[in-house]
Symmetry: C2
């Protein structure tokens, strides 16, 4: 069974987090959400709650400190939301995970301000996209694109809540193939022709 580690923090954009988690679960991918605490070196909390960017409170499956082998999943996902993306991208542990996933040719997904993690993890120059609000931060270190989703090897990036379905469906296709993508697409009842761009 394919698996994904989806990070979350206070200030994470709740639509980007939930659309990704839910769509991947629909595709049969075993999802684990992990809270990254915004106060470094604090003890893991048994009830890892994130207060998201618009006030929705989500209980993560685990505190990242309690994930036994965070390097063992098939994909690592970094959602956006300014404050949440700041916490995720500044975490040395998260930066190390991003590099380790890509070195082992495994999928890393970043959306919205989450793409800042590519910069802070010092990834090599590649094609990238992000929320327009952080384009200036990324433009000199990466080859910036305004496509809805950018697939650059195993690094998959996207723009914001409005492209989160396409981001999630692209992750599904990368992890479990185009047939599974088609299978989950129907019951979600998109307007005809929406989010159909394949990898």
């Amino acid at each position: 069974m394919s698996s994904a580690l989806i990070l979350i923090a206070n200030g994470t954009e709740e639509m980007e987090f939930v659309i990704t988690y839910d769509t991947l679960v629909r595709a049969g991918i075993n999802c684990t959400s992990a809270l990254v605490n915004d106060i470094p070196d604090t003890l893991p909390t048994p009830s890892p709650v994130a207060k998201c960017s618009r006030g929705v409170k989500i209980i993560a499956d685990k505190d990242l400190a309690d994930v036994e082998d965070p390097n063992s999943f098939d994909a690592l996902i970094i959602p956006g939301g300014a404050k949440g993306a700041d916490t995720l991208s500044q975490s040395k542990k998260v930066q190390g995970l991003i590099r380790a996933y890509l070195e082992k040719d495994r999928v890393v997904g970043m959306i919205c301000a989450g793409s800042l993690a590519a910069l802070r993890a010092s990834l090599p120059r590649s094609k990238i996209t992000s929320h327009p609000s952080v384009k200036a931060d990324l433009g000199s270190a990466f080859e910036y694109s305004e496509d809805d989703v950018v697939v650059a090897g195993k690094l998959i990036t996207s723009r914001g809540p409005g492209t989160a379905f396409l981001f999630a469906l692209t992750l599904v296709e990368a992890l479990v193939g185009p047939e599974k993508r088609k299978e989950v697409y129907g019951p979600m009842v998109f307007p005809p022709g929406y989010y159909t761009t394949p990898l």
Copy 2:
């Protein structure tokens, strides 16, 4: 300030709940999420957690039993998800609220299987839509449509996760006007032309 009461239960479709809540908050609407317990007549819980349809755990702002005047908001929203919609639509309290909101010409939104609440609250025949999986339940009592969003007076219905953005943007327009809808649309970074159908 405009306000909305957004219901949630175990089994609620987390994308439909979160897309609606988040988009309305972006539009400056004061949102309160309220848990409807699936075991009737239980005491309200101080930490009202819903385990949603694909496993995301959301802490509601309140237990519905603790909402002081549930009849005092500008809109009432019923998300889908088979099990969650069943709990919400079978609740006598929720059925009473739906009728009271419409009688006072206030907005009621239902999406996906949430539209079953129109049937169970015995609303008069009107145009309606829902997730295709519950079309057969609604077809004889309502004038069924396969439009992405149906606006029938103050009853606004929609189809599923794939139409949830359009549902939320339509609620924004109904509650705080088309200018606010345009204002929140941009930063969400939709692919060009997506979800633009106005009321």
